[in-house]
């Protein structure tokens, strides 16, 4: 299987001496194309830090991250930003939508930053798939949690990136909405052949994942 995401001896420590926190401690992992991978672990185990390192949002102390065989930290800051635009889609627990932009504008934002004129038909399809067709011109503050997360999903997949990194996307949602979001995410990545890496505490999500990594004190302690 083609490896899309690869972490090699990844390290991220915070603090020094007695206050040293080993958020990510010599982690090695490989994720294949089209796989749905779940990362699980207790709060403070370092799973979010690992996800941020995989997406280039944070810098590792040492180690490497490869996305489609490209060492992402060899890029300049701007190069990394462009790479994120093209190859990585992020979904956060608290949605992180730009409050001053409408649903439509939030979705096309990554395209705008790449100076790409959006394909209106494609975006309308995306809205339909995410159930936001009637919310196209709405401001994020008027949406429910589930709708906000759908909008965030649409934004993450609009550029058809190779990898979707989702940090507890259902953490703020009720179980039914959470399940709908996971289904939507899974359908989307399957349709576009994308790789999904998701952090979750929800065992039922782990059950439908292709692979599960368990993290404890910054180390991968188990794989399933």
């Amino acid at each position: 299987m083609e490896i899309v995401v690869k972490a090699q001896d990844l390290v991220k420590y915070y603090g020094t001496g007695g206050n040293l926190v080993k958020a990510v401690d010599h982690v090695d992992l490989e994720i294949g194309r089209g796989q749905f991978t779940v990362i699980m672990g207790r709060s403070g185990s370092g799973k979010s830090t690992l996800l941020h390192l995989l997406g280039g949002l944070d810098k590792p102390g040492s180690g490497k991250v490869f996305i489609e065989n490209e060492d992402i930290f060899r890029h300049s800051r701007d190069g990394l930003a462009k790479l994120r635009r093209k190859k990585i889609g992020f979904i956060f627990q608290d949605y992180n939508l730009v409050p001053s932009l409408t649903v439509w504008e939030n979705i096309i934002l990554p395209l705008g930053l790449s100076n790409i004129v959006p394909d209106t038909k494609k975006i309308e399809n995306l809205l339909e798939k995410t159930g936001l067709s009637n919310k196209k011109n709405a401001m994020p503050e008027t949406l429910s949690g589930g709708q906000k997360q759908r909008c965030a999903i649409a934004r993450a997949i609009v550029t058809e990136p190779a990898v979707i990194l989702a940090d507890e996307p259902t953490g703020n949602l009720d179980s039914q909405t959470g399940a709908e979001i996971v289904t939507l995410l899974k359908q989307s990545v399957e349709e576009y052949g994308q790789t999904l890496v998701m952090i979750t505490h929800d065992g039922s999500i782990a059950e439908i994942a292709d692979r599960v990594y368990f993290i404890e004190d910054g180390r991968v302690v188990d794989k399933a």
Partner: protein
């Protein structure tokens, strides 16, 4: 209460960045207030000390007094100190310089600030004390104890007697101060010689005196006392002289205090605008925090106290630093000024009251602190009110980050997104705040524009044009009621008018002279104005001088030939003639060649003529029925260059030959104006610079808080692929919006506001302002400074954003 203070203190630490900005504004406010006040006091004390150290310090002077009357006045009360001197003789060294032979007693010497540099006062008939400058002018050499033969004409029987010579023994020398341009050199003779040369009964003294300090409450009060004593002893008004310099220097100068007051008001205003806007933005951002405090049980009153204490806490820290910096600048300023002054610090220190100076400074320190405190208090009024009105629900309702609070629920989406669209969207969503920021920044900009307009209207070239018509100008030395110079009475000057056709030809022939324009004039008593005024007659060949300068009304040159139509000088009319204008009539009476002519004329137009020229203008022909004699009054000499040393020397020779001619040069007037305007410009530039720093704090706050507030949003944008370059462009465009907005309001508003200020300055003759000039220089400086500041700020902010990882920024408000 302690908890509240602790909370206020902790808040001050937590909001350190913002408080530093406010602190800088407070620092500059206290600094400026201290510097303005101390400059005023130091200037006054220095003026007082230097006048007392070097200039005559008598308060009043009565002429033509006998020794007996002097004793009577002295014993009559209200006299603190008196002295007498008498002018025995004089000798003319050149047209402009003379030696005055005087007898003076010790107290008169002291009050006239005459000091011996060496030797002693003359006692015997043939003894004399000389000014070394006079000896040099005479081309003689004299040494202490040596003999010198000097010429003099004794004042006898109200006239100058025939010149004679006498051999004197030099017993001392006077301090040769201010030798350049000195017109009268003093030679001190003994009382014995005075009484020998001037017949008994003809010796008249000048009585100099000082009135007791406790009686001098103001300059006007001193004048009243001096005039009162004179009237008590029957001394005519013409024989009284009052030393206004000394009185003004030693007593309240209301004009200077007015200037300081206005400047301080401007500083306070700038401070209030800046501190207020920083707090206003800050308070709006902290609404949720205040809501939480209220939810935790804090009362509105307690919340208000916290906001107030945070502000006053900054004043307590920043104002003393500003005052100390002001003191350092004051000390440096004194040292620099003294290094340029013609006298040394040691000379004036004995005349400065150190305890008084300390008390003044303590007062200024307290005042500067209080004024800064007041500035902060006023700035805080609204933020305190806002904080007081916040409800517990705001903690839940108000968004802690982002700027969507006021956005609509729905709007039309843009079909595509660009950096420019993001900027437009951000600014559009914060319209009220963006406008408030622009207006707050523009308020200081407007102050700068108004002051800059006044400065730009101070034009040394225009000033010089105002004081000298042509590159060189010959005028007659006309003076009225000068007993020493009856030859300067206008009728006397006209009888021997030196501005002849021959002289005109001679001047025209001089190499370098291009053209000479002539003007005639008469002096006439104007009934309506109850004063003697000069009326200028403009010859036909020079009629454009009148016609081109008319600013109101209309008249033809031919109409001005009748003598019953006159053009008035705009500024003279405004300042010296009680606002006389078009349609008013004047009845003028002139006496020349034993003939008296009375005529009437109507003011038909107003012109803007050089201020050195008279108030009224007619055609030369209108003087035909007054006198057919030579009425030339001015020869304006136009040359190839603004100034030529060789040409000046040739013209100076003519001036030396003609005792009633005065030569002035455009260059000299230009230099005088330049040195004067340089000081004003430097002073105002420093003032505006510091004011600009206060204004800059506003912009720094706006930009920094805009990034701080949107830290999370910026993080989100970067998480989805915004590059640093795109972020930089976005912040630059946002900054550019503030700058362009500020510049627009500053320039447009400044132009509207500065014109009435210019009119006011012109009306009041402030700093010689009389032609409006838009301050393009200031606009360029403001634009460049704002643009540079914006670029620096954006670079600084982009770097500061880069210091944190994207994920740290996204987590910012969590």
């Amino acid at each position: 209460m302690n908890m509240l203070r602790t909370l206020a203190r902790q808040n001050m630490k937590y909001y350190r960045k913002r408080n530093i900005l406010i602190g800088v504004a407070v620092f500059f406010t206290s600094f400026l207030v201290f510097v303005m006040l101390s400059a005023g006091v130091v200037f006054q004390q220095e003026q007082y000390a230097s006048i007392n150290a070097f200039y005559p310090n008598w308060h009043g002077q009565y002429s033509y007094i006998t020794e007996d009357l002097a004793r009577q006045i002295a014993s009559g009360g209200n006299i603190e100190k008196y002295g007498i001197f008498s002018e025995m003789a004089y000798t003319e060294l050149s047209k402009k310089t003379k030696i005055s032979y005087r007898y003076a007693d010790e107290k008169a010497m002291d009050m006239l600030r005459l000091e011996l540099s060496e030797g002693r006062m003359p006692e015997a008939e043939d003894e004399i004390v000389l000014d070394p400058g006079a000896v040099e002018k005479l081309g003689k050499s004299a040494e202490l104890g040596g003999k010198v033969t000097l010429p003099y004409q004794v004042y006898r029987d109200g006239a100058k007697d025939y010149a004679k010579e006498r051999e004197f023994t030099v017993t001392g020398f006077l301090n040769n101060m201010d030798a350049d341009g000195k017109e009268t050199y003093i030679a001190l003779v003994s009382k014995e010689l005075l009484e020998k040369e001037v017949p008994a009964g003809q010796v008249s003294y000048v009585f100099l005196f000082r009135i007791p300090g406790k009686d001098v409450k103001s300059t006007d009060n001193a004048k009243n006392i001096i005039n009162g004593i004179a009237s008590k002893y029957g001394i005519p008004e013409d024989n009284i002289r009052i030393n206004t310099y000394n009185l003004v220097a030693n007593h309240a100068d209301t004009d200077m205090y007015m200037v300081i007051f206005v400047v301080i008001c401007v500083v306070i205003l700038a401070g209030i605008i800046t501190i207020y806007s920083i707090y206003y933005i800050g308070t709006n951002e902290r609404i949720q925090e205040y809501g939480r405090l209220k939810a935790a049980g804090m009362t509105s009153k307690e919340l208000k106290k916290i906001v107030l204490w945070e502000g006053t806490g900054i004043v307590k820290k920043a104002a003393p630093s500003g005052i100390v910096a002001g003191m350092v600048l004051e000390a440096a300023g004194i040292i620099i000024l003294h290094s340029m002054a013609w006298y040394s610090m040691d000379d004036i220190i004995p005349y400065i009251s150190i305890p008084k100076l300390i008390i003044y400074h303590l007062g200024i320190i307290v005042l500067a602190f209080l004024v800064t405190y007041l500035t902060m208090y006023i700035s805080l009024r609204k933020p305190v009110r806002i904080a007081g009105k916040i409800t517990e629900m705001e903690a839940v309702r108000y968004p802690s980050s982002g700027n969507a609070g006021k956005s609509s629920r729905k709007r039309k989406s843009a079909s595509k997104i660009s950096i420019f669209y993001l900027v437009k969207n951000t600014l559009g969503n914060n319209k009220k705040r963006s406008m408030a920021t622009i207006f707050a920044m523009s308020a200081t900009g407007l102050l700068v524009m108004v002051v800059a307009t006044v400065i730009s209207c101070i034009d040394s070239r225009l000033d010089a044009d105002d004081m000298c018509h042509g590159q060189y100008m010959f005028r007659e030395m006309v003076e009225f009621n000068n007993k020493d110079h009856p030859e300067r009475e206008w009728q006397e000057v006209m009888a021997a008018n030196p501005l002849t056709k021959d002289l005109l030809k001679r001047i025209k022939k001089i190499d370098g002279v291009e053209k000479v324009t002539c003007f005639e004039s008469i002096y006439a008593y104007i009934d309506e104005l109850s004063w003697e005024y000069e009326i200028m007659g403009v010859p036909e060949e020079n009629q454009s001088f009148i016609m081109d300068n008319i600013v109101e009304g209309s008249v033809t040159y031919e109409e001005l030939q009748s003598g019953n139509k006159v053009v008035v000088n705009k500024r003279s009319a405004k300042w010296h003639m009680g606002g006389i204008g078009i349609g008013d009539k004047i009845t003028y009476t002139t006496e020349i060649g034993g003939k008296t002519v009375k005529k009437e004329a109507e003011i038909v137009a107003v012109g803007d003529f050089p201020i050195i020229f008279p108030g009224f203008y007619m055609a030369s022909k209108s003087f035909d029925d007054i006198s057919r004699e030579n009425l030339n009054a001015v020869f304006s000499v136009w040359a190839k260059e603004n100034y030529n040393e060789e040409l000046y020397e040739k013209l100076s020779r003519i001036e030396d030959e003609e005792p009633l001619l005065v030569l002035s040069t455009w260059q000299e007037q230009y230099e005088i104006s330049e040195s004067g305007s340089l000081m004003v410009t430097v002073f105002f530039s420093i003032f505006l610079g510091i004011l600009g720093c206060i204004c800059a704090m506003n912009m720094v706050n706006t930009m920094i808080s805009s990034v701080q507030r949107r830290k999370k949003e910026i993080g989100m944008l970067q998480a989805v692929g915004m590059t640093d370059r795109q972020l930089f462009t976005m912040l630059q465009l946002e900054g550019a919006y503030y700058i362009l907005g500020t510049l627009f309001v500053t320039i447009a508003g400044g132009a509207l506001l500065s014109y009435p200020v210019y009119r006011w300055a012109e009306d009041h003759g402030i700093l010689g302002v009389h032609k409006y000039q838009f301050p393009f220089g200031a606009v360029i400086i403001i634009s460049v400074v704002l643009a540079v500041l914006e670029i620096i700020l954006v670079v600084f902010m982009t770097r500061s954003v880069k210091k944190e990882t994207i994920i740290d920024r996204i987590r910012f408000s969590e």
